[in-house]
């Protein structure tokens, strides 16, 4: 039961549509414009059907009336043309490679890779095609997995490789590739009770070393900070195909809450494909601000940036429920934050022997 992916359009045709729109504007003596959904916190809405947060109806218009707008349109067209030719030639490139290629686009070249990455996202949104269809991929690799599950991956040579994520992998676990679509990766079998997504590498390694995947029949997934698309997509597929619950275990600070939000609700930047990436069933395990108090964890002071981030979350529709409101306000009041690894205060096994079992039981997962 794979989620219905974003409607797959003919990417080549969509690229041509962009050029047509602009040409048509010019030919009819209008200032050329392109519209796309506004990618802001205020323009995300809860989608009842998919139970994730997606963009609302607000749009932004890029217009050649301003110099910045005109440059945007020119770059958009160059990128569309480039993607078209890549598809034609059955090639693919990384976002970074495209950034370097844009050096040759004359006036349309970018000032920084961030600009070209974000325009690639804009193009996805405008054309309703996925970046993967554009043959663009991020250079960051996906994160790691350890647990009692068997996968089938199609290798570069086209062979099918069977991998068991405990027996066939080293201590680092199985590395999630950038493309986790069924044509590349199949989930053959899972024998576990729940999926545990972990923010930091240190904690992932701690749980692996303590054998938490075996002792508590869990699949451990390393998020590596703000998770890459492929990691989120992998978690979603695992959740939907195996029906296992997903719990997210992060540091206890506002940035970690956002990591959870992007796993469970959908990220603001990629809200156009939230139904494809987000796992609405995911639950937050901790560290919650209440945990900081209840477990008397070592803390750091909130920085000004932390405080601002918390305040921003109070007006973020994704956090507008009782649980989050209570926790965010508590944290603002105590002005403290803690890391996952602060649990080591009570010994290296405390997290696997006490904290996690207690929290999981509380949540009804075990």
């Amino acid at each position: 039961m794979v989620t219905k992916a974003v409607p797959k359009g003919d990417a080549v045709k969509r690229m041509g549509d962009i050029a047509s729109k602009i040409y048509h504007d010019l030919a009819s003596s209008e200032i050329p414009t392109l519209s796309l959904p506004a990618r802001t916190k205020s323009n995300i809405e809860f989608n009842e059907m998919y139970r994730v947060w997606k963009y609302g109806n607000a749009t932004t218009t890029r217009s050649a009336k301003s110099l910045d707008g005109a440059y945007m349109l020119l770059r958009t067209m160059h990128m569309a043309d480039f993607i078209k030719s890549m598809i034609d030639q059955k090639k693919s490139s990384t976002l970074r490679e495209m950034y370097y290629i844009s050096e040759g686009w004359g006036l349309a070249k970018f000032g920084a890779q961030q600009e070209s990455d974000s325009l690639a996202e804009d193009l996805e949104i405008m054309t309703l095609c996925m970046r993967e269809e554009f043959k663009l991929r991020p250079e960051e690799d996906g994160a790691r997995v350890i647990g009692n599950l068997t996968l089938e991956e199609r290798t570069r040579k086209g062979d099918i490789m069977k991998i068991h994520c405990q027996e066939d992998v080293g201590d680092a676990g199985y590395s999630i590739p950038y493309n986790v679509e069924p044509e590349k990766l199949k989930i053959k079998s899972v024998d576990a009770d729940f999926i545990l997504a972990i923010e930091t590498g240190g904690m992932f390694d701690r749980l692996a070393e303590n054998g938490f995947d075996e002792s508590h029949r869990s699949v451990l997934v390393h998020l590596k900070g703000q998770p890459a698309r492929s990691t989120r997509r992998f978690i979603k597929r695992l959740n939907e195909e195996s029906g296992l619950p997903v719990v997210v275990f992060t540091d206890g600070d506002p940035w970690s809450f956002r990591i959870f939000a992007s796993v469970a609700y959908g990220a603001i930047k990629t809200a156009h494909i939230s139904e494809y990436l987000a796992t609405p069933a995911a639950q937050f395990l901790g560290i919650t601000p209440s945990d900081i108090v209840n477990y008397d964890l070592p803390t750091d002071k909130l920085t000004d940036q932390d405080t601002r981030a918390l305040q921003a979350e109070l007006t973020d529709p994704r956090f507008a429920d009782e649980f989050w409101r209570g926790e965010i306000e508590l944290q603002l009041k105590m002005k403290k934050k803690s890391e996952q690894q602060a649990l080591a205060k009570y010994g290296l096994d405390y997290v696997t022997d006490h904290y996690l079992p207690e929290k999981l039981a509380e949540m009804g997962v075990i």
């Binding site: 050029a19 602009i22 040409y23 010019l26 050649a64 301003s66 006036l107 349309a108």
Partner: protein
Amino acid sequence: MRRRDLTAGCGLLTEEDAMAPTPIAEQLAKNQKEISVAEFFERNKHVLGFDSPTRALITGVKEAVDNALDACEEAQVLPEVNVSLAYLGDSREEFVLSVEDNGPGIVKRQIPSIFGKLLYGSRFHAIRQSRGQQGIGISAAVLYGQLTTGQHAKVSSKIGDGHPVYSCDIFIDTKKNYPEIMNESLDHWEKPSGTRITVPMLGRYVKGRQSVYEYLRGTAIVNPHARITYTEPDGTHHVFERASDVMPRECVEIKPHPHGVEVGTVIKMTKGANNRYLSGFLQTEFSSMGSRTVTDVLKAAGLNKSDNPREMTLQQIRSLVEAFKKVKIMAPPTDCLSPIGETLVKRGLKKETEEISPEFIISCMRQPAVHSGSPFQIEVGMVYGGSLPRDGQVRILRFANRVPLIYQQGGCALTHSIEQIDWRRYGLDQRGGKGIPNGPAIFLVHIASTNIPFTNESKEAVADIPDVVGEIKLALRDCARRLQQHLKKKEKRAKTKQKFELITKVLPEIASKSAGMLGKPVPNLDHVITKIMDIVWIDDEIRYEKVQKAQPVEEERKPVRQMTFDELPEDAADAVVSSSGWITVSSIKVQNYTQKPQGFTIHALIPPEATLGRAEPVPSKVTPKKISWELPEIPSAKTLTIVFELAGLGKGDFDENEIYTEGINPLCVIGADNWEGGDTDVEVSVLGHQEEEIAKEELEDDLERASEKGSKEKATGGDE
């Protein structure tokens, strides 16, 4: 006044005091003796400006240069002042300062007193604007040099063609307080007259803001008629060229104004009165005393017009001074003042800030005003942009009677006036709307007066007289408004420059890229371009054309009127035009980037010194301060160019036209402001309007300050 304060303060006692008849006084008398000048000097080093070796060098230069410039102005010759500082022998702490001028020279018999006696001068009693006031300056420098090096100063002077140069060494006998002359000799100079003073002195040579170089540079800015050269101890030679070859207006000496005198002064005046009748005495010995005023004063004082001033009692004099305060008396005449003038302030600043290549220079001169009976006049200049640091404090240049003030910036009314303005409203950074603002700017403030109200004898800071501060603030605000206008215009232009980039570069590429992707022909962009721009763009360019000095001004270029620096006589005005020898050619380009034809009126303001020559198209109206054109309709996407020439300005005096539009929506015009003056002349309309605005801003700042204070008080009240 000052002179008495100084002597009294150091115990030079009068005979009367010393011969008190009581025994205790006799006792005291044993300790009472004349104090030597050396001791006097030692005690007053700081007020005389010789308290540190660094400052001593600057003060030495200042005293000699001030005198040189004063002397040249009195003799009405364009000053040529050569300053040099050299190490004295192998020492790095002792210097030989030498300053030579081309002034009138000094007659032989005066030399010992001028250079060897404190409190000897020609300006102490004269009420007029001059640099020297006290008769201390140069002799203090000579004395300092002698006390610190044990060596003699040397003076050379020539008083006219056919006279030899007389030179001598001056030695001050500090016990007798008497100058002695040695090593007299005669010599020859090419120049008709002049003076050179050479003083050996202890000093410390530094660079930077408080240095001899900066002092001379400041002097050059406010004395654009002077040519100053300077040789540093390491041999580096600087020349501050003249920016103008017109002498400043000669300052007339005036009589004391009744509002500026105290009882003591009046006693002295009555003692020496030549007139036997009080009414005549009042009319001739004071300024602004017409016969009506004299009658009013006498009535108020209960005195008779036929009283003999020499026989007045102290009581009578007191009531006279009281009456001066009660009766309305006209302000003193102001021809005793010699301000620099707006154009010359600008020119001086321009010349001396060339290496910064500033983006904008403006100046403003106030009308003369009066503080306690003394006339004064304020001038302000501003330099903006170029390579000046963007984040540091604005640099302040202070001047009093054309003399740079180097020390005590924080304690000076000129600085305080700047600090009291909320500069944020004029687009400069300023923490809390108080204090010295930040930004890439230099502010120049000059006060000219017959009596500069210095805070003390060292003449480094001006006292906070409310009338003076008020005038300075008005002048600053006037400049600030124009600076702000300039900045706004620039910002608007920069935005529009972007649009030019858009329509000339980016848009054509968008068109060809989209056409290329679709394999279609590139569409025509004209209409899209006017839709994107939707403005009228006014561009202004100024260039200077040199005209041959001898060449007669062509008929059509014949000046239509004569306006000159500080209202010089007609023939002098001609001299200005021909000697500057430049024609300023302005072209104003009007480009219609809107979708419909545009017809409107353009006004260009011209500086008061300028004379209009050729103008194309023919203006519909010309007044002494502005030129107006009612333009024919300019079709969409077309351009019209206006060209006009001005004479009477130096090269670079005028680098930006003030252009206004009328009869068109100001929002769609870039490069000109909306004309709000109606059909009248600038003087009464725009300027009048500005004064009003400035007054409003002043009031707003005051209110803000008052409310701030109020809220602070409340806040502290709440704490308690």
